[in-house]
């Protein structure tokens, strides 16, 4: 169950974080950005779990993956989806 922190999967998760994190800041649609941010959070959570921080992983999945994403989506209903204005 434990992954080698330097192993392939862990590195892949870190790369995923970097890519989704960067792209989430650049896309022009808030819903897409929120979804990307969700992926970012889940990758982070998986990486935390791989390093034995199961509590942190659980929390990050609940909060970053679910709650923050839901709040972001909810906010689009009262603001705008477009991120260029």
């Amino acid at each position: 169950m434990m992954l080698d922190p330097g192993g392939l999967i862990a590195t892949g998760l870190l790369a995923t974080m970097l890519v989704t994190g960067a792209v989430a800041l650049l896309v022009n649609d808030l819903l897409v950005a929120a979804a990307l941010f969700g992926v970012f959070s889940f990758a982070a959570a998986a990486w935390f779990a791989a390093l034995g921080a199961v509590d942190v992983a659980f929390t990050e999945a609940c909060v970053g993956g679910a709650l923050t994403t839901i709040l972001l989506v909810a906010a689009t209903f009262r603001t705008t989806r477009r991120l260029d204005r």
Binding site: G52, D55, V56, G64, T68, R78, D84
Partner: protein, 140 residues
Amino acid sequence: MTPYALAAALFTLGLGGMVLLPNLVRKLLAMNVMQVAVIVFFIALATKDGGRVPILEPGETEAIAADFMNPLPHTLMLTAIVVSVATTGLALGLLIRIWRQYGSLDERILLSRLRGSGDDATRHGAGDDATRHGAGEPPR
């Protein structure tokens, strides 16, 4: 890619986004990225080669420090995650207010609209700004 390097990269990315991106929602997303970077850093600190998840089996009573991941940074990061979601929630509230009042979430547009309305006119209008700008509903 070592976790520390990734944490540094994400932290810089987040801080840069907060400073450079003009859209307020993007600033908020960048803020979250930066906070995750800090968490990555702490979790990497907590690892020990050959360490276990810091939870004992029900029958276990004795534990040796070297066998388990360091639980302290994990605890700290639980708190940090809470702080980050709390800040995000409050910030979204502010964003909705700003959108309703000024019809924009872009720093540059906001700045020009704020300047156009002048300090004194808006200081005291509190929530009435949307009507002051001649539109009951912000442009969608």
